[in-house]
Each structure stands twice: as C-alpha cells, then as structure tokens.
C-alpha cells in the first residue's frame, strides 16, 4: 500500500526521482528497483479498472516499457507515481474502449451515474453501525465481500478513482493529474462511487437486521 502521510510520500517521491536519474544514465538496477516499488500498486489499479488478470499484467508490463522509453523526457521536478499512474490509467481506458470488449461503456456509464445521483444524498449507514454496533452482528468478511461485490458494479473510472484515493492515498490534485481530468470530475466520481458503495452496505445491513432476530434484540438493548 502507498504511504499515507505526506512526509512518507515526499520521501518516496525523492527516492523515485533518484532512481529515475540513475535509470536515465543506463543503470538497469535502478530501473528494476522502480519496477519492484510500483508494480503491485500499478497492478492493483489496473486490475481494479479492467477486472481481468491477464489484461492487468499486460498493462503493467506495457506501462513500465513506456516509462523506460520515456525516461529521457521525464522532467526532474515531476512526481513519478502520478506520471506512471496516468500511463496505467490511459492504457486501461484504451483497453476498455477497444471494440468488442464486454464491459460497461466508460463515458456513458460515468456520465449517467453522475447525472442520476441527487445532490442531497444521505449516508445513513454509519449511524446504524455506531448505534447498533454492527461489527458484533455482521461478520467482517461478509462486509468486505459486500464491498467487493459493490466495487464490481462500479464503472471502471469510478473504481479507479476509489482505489487511487483510498488505497494509494492520492490527493484530489494528484488524482486529477493521474486520470487526466479536473478536480471537480474527480470529486464527482469519488462521491458517486462512495454513495453507491454505501447504499450496498446499507442494504446489506438492513437485510441482516431483518433476517437475524438477535440483531433486533441487540438493537432493543441499546
């Protein structure tokens, strides 16, 4: 997982820069080190977007090849991981746009999802979690499974946005740069993705409440 605090991110960025400078001079070990540092995170993002292991592997490999080819043009003051994730994101989008691919259409789904969500949405899940202590009644694995399933239903761009934010810990600005869109678009994607995930969790919670009589007892005791 990516470092979450700004100091750690800054340190990582500095190390990346040093490795790139060495790789520019033909140091293969430095480039190998870059690959080792970023391949798993790149794979996670690629897999989150394309939902196919082989495609994700191909995208990561192609991404690093492009990085290697473009090293002479890489500006020293740029941040490597936003640049690299932009390459990965673009490769994913290119793949998803290929004709004949059985996936949700990127642009239409994204726009439709954005336009359907009301502005004054609610996030009622937490209240019930806090008051009803749901972690006692719901198995953690079930919750995670539900989140996993809900993530599957998101569009690739929404899923990518969630992963970049929650797993990579990117700021909105970095995400906008990595995905090649405005910060407003990033916020919109994040918001709607989270709303959809929350809905899935809420439904799951309500369903569990109705099917498990112990939950009602636990709720009454509260």
């Amino acid at each position: 997982m990516a470092p979450s605090n700004p100091q750690a991110k800054q340190a990582e960025s500095e190390e990346d820069r040093a490795l790139i400078e060495a790789a520019k001079k033909g140091d293969t070990r430095a480039f190998r080190c870059l690959v080792e540092r970023h391949q798993h995170r790149a794979y996670a993002i690629a897999f989150a977007m394309v939902r196919n292991e082989q495609d994700a592997r191909d995208i990561v490999q192609e991404g690093f090849l492009r990085v290697h080819r473009s090293l002479p043009n890489f500006a020293g003051n740029a941040i490597f991981f936003t640049w690299f994730y932009r390459i990965i994101t673009n490769l994913c989008i290119d793949l998803l746009r290929k004709p004949g691919r059985k996936t949700m259409e990127l642009a239409t789904l994204d726009e439709r999802a954005d336009s359907l969500v009301p502005a004054d949405c609610e996030f009622p899940l937490l209240q019930k979690f806090e008051n009803g202590n749901p972690l006692e009644t719901l198995h953690r694995a079930q919750v995670l499974k539900k989140i996993h399933d809900a993530l599957e239903t998101l569009s690739p761009l929404h899923r990518g946005a969630i992963l970049l934010r929650e797993v990579e810990g990117m700021s909105y600005e970095e995400m906008a740069e990595a995905m090649g869109v405005s910060q407003g678009t990033i916020m919109s994607r994040l918001f709607h993705a989270r709303q959809k995930l929350q809905r899935a969790l809420r439904d799951f919670y309500l369903e569990s409440q109705n099917t498990n009589p112990l939950n009602h007892v636990a709720g009454d005791l509260k």
Partner: protein, 186 residues
C-alpha cells in the same frame, strides 16, 4: 451558518479542503451532528476498502518479465539519446553528399551536352547485352550515317547478323535499328 454540501463533507473527510473551508466545515458540524456522521461514514468506508485491499493478494511479481522486455527491446536511455543524435548527424551528412553529387552530375551533363544542343547523342556501349559478345564481327555492321546531323556511334556489333541503323528525318529524328536474322536475305 450555511450547511456544507455532501461533496464538501467528503472533501473534509479526505482532508482535501483548504484551512479556511475546513474551519468552516468543522464549525458547522457542531450545529449539524448528522453531518458529522456523514463524515465518519466516508472515513469508515475508506477503512473498509483498505482492509479489503489488504486482504487481497498483492498481484504477480512481474519484475523479471518486465526487465527482460526492457533489456531485449531497448538500449539504455543515455545511449538512445546518443544514437538518436548520431543518426540525425548521419542522415544530415548523407543528404548533403547526395545533394552535392546531384549538383555535380547536373553540372557535368550540362557541360557535355552544351555543344550538341539541341540534338541528342546516339551512343552504343559495347557492354550492352545486345551488342555482345564479339567485337570481331564489327565488320558485319553496316552504318548509314546521316550527313547533316552530328551523331557519334561508339561501337556497334550485331554479332553474326547484318544490321543497319536508319535515321528517319522528320520533326524529330527517329532512330531505327534493323537486325537481320541469320539467313535472311537483304
């Protein structure tokens, strides 16, 4: 105080607001406790997603495959730059040489044809496949040279056959080469 929008609450939960906006939101959370729960819901969801990612496998190790591809299909970037510059220099040099050679040829041709203008020179080479192999049969050739035009014939060899070259006058001079088959009567 104006109630912050859900998107602003999300940005607050993500620590993505500037200090002034963040201060405003934190003030409003006191007046609207349900917004506090919304903020917590955003954070809690994030922790679930991170937990989910932690539990998933970290993906295949592609280091060796990537490095093999990198090493097989490319040279070090510094060398690429050097080669690119060298290639540019080579192409520039070759282009210059071609341009110079073309200029020389044009100049030579203009010099050699200057005294013949406007008529062209008819010239046969002994190395031409039609006129090989025997210079000894040159005697068999019979040339009819026009008297009023300036024409050079270097070598003519029709082999064992007899041959003639005709110049047909007109608006433009037409050259006809007549070679008799063996045994054909003149």
């Amino acid at each position: 105080m104006r109630r912050p929008s859900p998107q602003k609450l999300m940005a607050f939960a993500d620590d993505q607001l500037d200090s002034e906006s963040a201060h405003h939101v934190s003030q409003s959370l006191r007046d609207y406790p349900e917004d506090q729960q919304t903020v917590e819901a955003f954070r809690q969801l994030g922790s679930f997603i991170r937990a989910l990612e932690d539990e998933q496998e970290c993906g295949p190790d592609l280091t060796n495959q990537i490095m093999q591809q990198v090493e097989s299909c490319s040279t070090p970037p510094s060398k690429i730059l050097f080669l690119r510059n060298k290639r540019l220099a080579n192409w520039t040099g070759v282009s210059f040489i071609f341009a110079a050679a073309a200029s020389m040829l044009l100049w030579r041709y203009s010099q050699s044809f200057a005294h013949l203008a406007p008529l062209a020179t008819l010239s046969f080479s002994a190395s031409h496949p039609l006129v090989r192999p025997a210079a000894s049969f040159i005697s068999n050739a019979s040339l009819v040279e026009p008297s009023e035009i300036s024409t050079e014939v270097e070598t003519v060899d029709f082999g064992e056959n007899l041959g003639k070259i005709f110049y047909l006058p007109g608006d433009a001079i037409t050259t006809v080469i007549w070679v008799r088959e063996k045994g054909e009567t003149p």
